[in-house]
């Protein structure tokens, strides 16, 4: 009795596995691709080595004044020296711990929301949303035993974050109301909401900021005046709420009609069917969209430079105009770009992650 044994498999041809095969498939599959690859390599060679030598290898890392920047590359000494100003603006340096505490509180407070098994997440989240702004305002602005810091002294990245977060926090409820109004059956309410939304969406933010800085004082009763930051915030909130409204409307429209009908069949009135059935589903669906509008808002905060608030970008611009640091514009802008990029890129990745995670319902 002879048992038949198979010979061991031959290894695959060397050209079809490993790095060589991958390169043949992805880089040199035909003459056009080869040409494109060579061109791309040439581009990389053109851009990357000078960039690396400017930012890292030939850069000046230590020193205190401009004179210490002797090497050819970037002068990061400038950023080190002005770092405080870029982060806090003109916030008094002995009180800057308050800003740090505010940021740490936010990080620690939000962290449990990302833990999946945290009990009673919704209650905690709502409580946090109510308490945190009050604490943050108290810490940043002062009062009740803390020294007052006028908003004109706020600046740098801190101001950017304040405008962006207050902007989105204020715009969200207003946007939801506007979206509901736009989908309402009552013509008068619909017309008012559509007009409001289309007006703010049709004009650039810069004119809104101009308007809030020069026209708002005219609109208010005599003697009543807001400070500059608050005026900017009002403009930003109104502007942003229109965009949030459109995102939320997208979510409302995506809810199947059966859900509305089912809610009505259960005997729920308008507010309860919206609050208990429609909005929870719709808002969950549009979270990525809202994160995207937040990214847009975060980038747009740089426009407050036009009305003379000192956010991150304006701080950099001012510092670059300092006679002691002439010619440092490139370093300053690259630094600001990096900070903005980290925030925006991080948020956009997060929104993509959410999109995958929340993509659960309404697939039959």
């Amino acid at each position: 009795m002879t048992t038949h044994t198979f010979k061991p498999d031959m290894p695959p041809p060397r050209k079809s596995v490993g790095a060589v095969a991958w390169m043949r498939a992805n880089l040199f599959s035909n003459w056009l691709n080869t040409l494109l690859t060579l061109f791309a390599i040439y581009l990389v060679w053109l851009i990357v080595p000078p960039l690396l030598s400017w930012t890292i290898f030939d850069a000046n890392w230590v020193g205190t004044t401009r004179a210490d920047c002797t090497k050819e590359g970037a002068c990061w000494v400038f950023i080190q020296q002005r770092f405080g100003q870029f982060m806090y603006g003109f916030y008094p340096s002995e009180l800057r711990w308050r800003v740090d505490v505010t940021v740490w509180l936010a990080i620690i407070g939000v962290a449990p929301l990302f833990i999946n098994k945290f009990p009673r997440k919704a209650f905690y989240g709502i409580g946090f949303l109510i308490i945190y702004p009050l604490v943050a305002f108290w810490l940043l602005h002062g009062g009740l035993g803390l020294e007052n810091v006028a908003t004109s002294k706020w600046g740098g990245l801190m101001l950017t974050l304040v405008i962006a977060t207050v902007g989105i926090a204020g715009a969200l409820p207003l946007g939801i109301v506007l979206a509901l109004g736009r989908r309402s059956n009552m013509p008068a309410i619909r017309v008012v909401c559509v007009t409001f939304i289309e007006f703010w969406r049709g004009v650039p933010l810069i004119t809104v900021l101009f308007m809030s800085s020069v026209m708002l004082p005219l609109f208010l009763p005599e003697g009543m005046s807001f400070d500059k930051l608050l005026r900017a915030l009002i403009g930003v909130i109104l502007f942003q709420s229109a965009y949030v409204a459109e995102v939320v409307r997208g979510g409302l429209q995506a809810i199947p009609k059966g859900q509305y009908e089912a809610a009505a069949a259960m005997g729920l009135g308008y507010w309860r069917s919206m609050g208990l059935v429609i909005l929870p589903q719709a808002l969950k669906m549009v979270i990525p969209g809202i994160v995207n509008t937040f990214i847009a808002l975060f980038k747009d905060t740089s426009l407050v430079i036009i009305i003379g608030l000192f956010d991150l970008l304006n701080s950099v611009k001012q510092a670059a105009a300092d006679p002691a640091w002439l010619g440092m514009a490139t370093e300053g802008y690259v630094f600001a770009a990096l900070v903005f990029w980290i925030f925006c890129f991080g948020m956009s990745r997060y929104s993509m992650h959410l999109e995958r995670k929340l993509d659960t319902g309404h697939k039959r």
Partner: protein, 392 residues
């Protein structure tokens, strides 16, 4: 009793129709009284400050210089003319930006889908870099960190003795009409008419006999040959005047001031990243089955792309693409950050400061933007209806 249900006019809160009326009336009253409150405050404030409202100020003489004006302008011209100049400058930078952003965006979008790993990764890096940096920051970067530190006109970067890049801007040759101009225009018109007639004839023959005709190459030949003959016979339509260095600056030629250059580069780079993503998602939205179906019908790669993939991709691409164009036009108002004389910096900035007519100036500026965006969205809706998929 039963007959009354549904027909009676009950004025109780449990009647939905009554409630609807009540809510709407409350809303309208709130909106109107809010409007009246603002209007009344404004009236009193204006009176107290001694500002006369109205658009009469537009007739006054402006008295300041403008760095770039597409129509003739002197300092004694009116504010109304300043407004027109600002509007034209806004339209100019938007138009240039849209053209270049579209080109760059389509190239990048296709590159990101490329099967070539290197090319697609490069496109991804570009897109992720530029769309995550605020446009204003990019504008300031190009202006303050790149263009202004360039050498002066005497040491400017010289490209083929006709393009000069310095801290005064980009100087380019300027075309003046020459003898052959009229003949050239006539030739181009003839070529267009000829191409249209050729395409019609080719389509008719294709419908009748099924024999295809090389429309593209024939059209190209007509469009090149007829104008070329005119140039050979009647001379060149333009004579180009290259900028020449005289004293401290260039004389002659067409100039892109550094503000315009910085704004164009930044807006193009920023918007192109978004357009690339739109193009990518549009092409990806056409399922592979469509390609396979086209191939099984016997279409080659070229016609598959032109007749099957692109028409369906465009349906997805065009609506968000228009809103990107609109964004670009709105972002051009960031010109105020570097002092490019667009409508916002010129009119809502300088004119407002000089005249103090805040309400009128802001109202005019906003209504221009509103008019632009509403007309574009109307156009969009019309287009959407035209190309919308007709389903059962």
């Amino acid at each position: 009793m039963q007959n009354q249900i549904g027909t009676s006019r009950s004025f109780s809160l449990s009647d939905p129709r009554f409630r609807a009326w009540l809510f709407q009336i409350i809303t309208l009253v709130a909106v109107v009284s809010m409007g009246w409150f603002l209007f009344d405050n404004t009236q009193t404030n204006l009176q107290h400050r001694g500002i006369t409202s109205g658009f009469g100020f537009l007739e006054n003489s402006a008295g300041f210089g403008i760095a770039q004006h597409l129509i003739s302008y002197t300092e004694s011209d009116t504010y109304a003319r300043v407004f027109v100049i600002g509007l034209l400058n806004t339209l100019l930078v938007s138009a240039i930006g849209i053209v270049f952003a579209t080109l760059l965006g389509f190239i990048l979008g296709v590159a990101r889908l490329s099967s070539n790993w290197m090319v697609s990764k490069l496109a991804t890096v570009y897109i992720e870099t530029f769309r995550n940096i605020p446009p204003l920051l990019q504008i300031l970067f190009w202006y303050f960190a790149v263009l202004l530190p360039l050498p002066g006109p005497r040491n400017s970067l010289n490209i083929a003795d006709s393009f000069f890049l310095s801290n005064r801007g980009l100087y380019m040759p300027e075309g003046h009409t020459a003898d052959g101009f009229v003949a050239f225009v006539v030739a181009v018109l003839l070529a267009i008419v000829g191409t249209v007639l050729m395409v019609r004839w080719a389509n008719k023959r294709f419908e009748a006999t099924g024999v295809p005709f090389h429309k593209f190459w024939a059209g190209l030949a007509i469009m090149v040959l007829i104008p070329a003959i005119s140039v050979l016979a009647f001379g060149s339509p333009f004579h180009w005047v290259a900028p020449a260095l005289k004293g401290f600056n260039f004389v002659g030629g067409w100039v892109m001031i550094p503000e315009l250059l910085a704004l164009t580069i930044a807006l193009t780079a920023y918007t192109a990243a978004f357009i690339a993503e739109i193009v990518r998602s549009g092409i990806k939205s056409v399922s592979h089955g469509q390609t396979e179906a086209a191939h099984s019908l016997g279409l080659r790669n070229g016609p598959t792309l032109r007749k099957v993939i692109i028409p369906q991709a465009l349906r997805v691409i065009i609506p968000p693409l228009t809103s990107q164009y609109l964004n670009l036009a709105k972002n051009s108002s960031l010109a105020a950050g570097i002092g490019y004389p667009d409508m916002v910096s010129l009119f809502a900035g300088t004119v407002l400061n000089q005249t103090g007519q805040a309400i009128e100036v802001i109202a005019i500026t906003m209504s221009v933007y509103l008019a632009i965006s509403i007309s574009i969205s109307l156009l969009m809706n019309w287009y959407n209806k035209r190309i919308a998929l007709i389903e059962r």
